[in-house]
């Protein structure tokens, strides 16, 4: 009998979820490792807090174990299902006011380029954008995070949030407008360039 590697990358998320619900640890591990980063980033960008994002990620996958049997493939992807659970976890965290003041914590700037000043500018811009996103009202924040930061489609975002696609579009537009005011006029192009790491001319 040929060895069938249970939980391989060739299996889709739904097959992994079904096996995990039946008690297959390897399938659950594969599913976790495949999707945990998306869930973590969503929670991190929504809360601005690493510890809150860790808690939300953990609770999301534990909730997946309990409610995985309710997943219906016809209603969306496992990723959307995960985002939906993570969204509930995050909103609960936000309501409880469990967010740390992450801006106050010193953060080591990763050295990714030949110019330390470029790195600092890049990192400051990233922090500024994250901070601005976290300051948005939750209903605008979540669509900005899903669509602009995580690259999800309007359809998938609508499935996660539970509203029509038209609502997603209007909230995106409104959210971007609010961010534009927070981040300052006329500096978006420079900020984007600094983040993408286009180096200044060498001294």
């Amino acid at each position: 009998m040929a060895n069938v590697k249970v939980g391989s990358m060739l299996e889709d998320d739904h097959q992994l979820l079904k096996r995990a619900a039946d008690g297959d640890e390897a399938s659950f591990t594969t599913l976790y490792r495949r999707r945990q980063a998306q869930v973590y980033r969503f929670a991190f960008h929504m809360t601005g807090s690493e510890s809150a994002a860790e808690d939300a990620t953990q609770e999301t996958f534990l909730a997946l174990l309990k409610s995985g049997a309710r997943f219906e493939p016809g209603r969306g992807s496992v990723v959307s299902f995960l985002y939906g659970i993570a969204r509930n976890q995050v909103l609960r965290i936000i309501e409880k006011g469990r967010l740390e003041d992450w801006n106050a914590a010193a953060e080591e700037i990763p050295n990714q380029g030949p110019d330390a000043l470029d790195d600092m500018t890049r990192h400051e811009t990233i922090l500024a954008v994250r901070s601005a996103v976290v300051s948005l009202p939750p209903q605008f924040r979540e669509v900005i995070v899903l669509c602009d930061l995580e690259g999800e489609s309007y359809e998938d975002a609508a499935a996660v949030v539970g509203c029509p696609i038209g609502t997603i579009r209007s909230r995106l537009s409104r959210g971007r407008e609010m961010l534009g005011r927070k981040l300052g006029p006329g500096r978006g192009e420079n900020k984007a360039r600094s983040i993408s790491g286009i180096a200044r001319s060498a001294p």
Partner: protein, 203 residues
């Protein structure tokens, strides 16, 4: 800043943050919770099997009462038991007095939750006949490993001879459907813990 500039900036931040992921400690906690959940499900299934076995013997007891009426017992002649069994109605267990060697640490009174589920009218023979001496087998455990036993009751039931075969006693094929008497130790939680078979030799 225009909406397009904001969108571009957000996409740049999303790309810069694409390496963000939950730390290994979150995976460890999630997998520990998965294993704990699997263990709890296994224990629940084992308990369900035990309750099913107890229910089977309870039904057998009720059927025996309907078919044969309650019995009173003369002192049991066994190598282990030295005390007589008191008479029992359908709603009370046979009280084992001191000196009997059973697997339970003590035999307690029947409480409401482990009475037989079926109510059987009491039968009072006009002329109680003297009971012949009984011969019993050793007690065979029905749960392995058995959870701690705080208290138990002893039920006299009538079961098919196939129950003897189930615990390893030899029984001829043509006798498997014969009815035999058995004593079942039922814990306070309603689980059947052990069984022994009783024969009443013909005079």
């Amino acid at each position: 800043m225009s909406e397009e500039q904001v969108k571009s900036l957000l996409e740049s931040v999303g790309a810069a943050d694409c390496e963000l992921a939950a730390p290994r400690s979150v995976e460890a906690r999630v997998m520990n919770a998965f294993r704990a959940r699997q263990a709890a499900q296994f224990r629940r299934r084992a308990t369900a099997w035990g309750l099913t076995a107890a229910a089977v013997f309870t039904v057998a007891l009720a059927l025996s009462r309907v078919a044969f009426g309650p019995t009173t017992h003369a002192p049991a002649a066994t190598v282990n038991a030295s005390a007589p069994l008191k008479g029992a109605s359908e709603s009370q267990p046979i009280q084992r007095s001191e000196g009997a060697v059973v697997s339970a640490t003590r035999l307690g009174d029947v409480s409401a939750h482990n009475r037989p589920a079926v109510s059987v009218p009491a039968y009072t023979p006009k002329q109680p006949a003297p009971m012949p001496r009984e011969v019993v087998t050793e007690f065979f455990p029905l749960m392995d490993p058995a959870p701690p036993l705080d208290g138990a009751a002893l039920f006299r039931v009538r079961v098919p001879a196939s129950a003897m075969q189930a615990v390893g006693l030899p029984v001829r094929e043509e006798r498997l459907n014969d009815r035999v008497q058995a004593d079942v130790v039922v814990g306070e939680e309603g689980l059947a813990r052990a069984i022994r078979f009783v024969t009443v030799p013909m005079r």
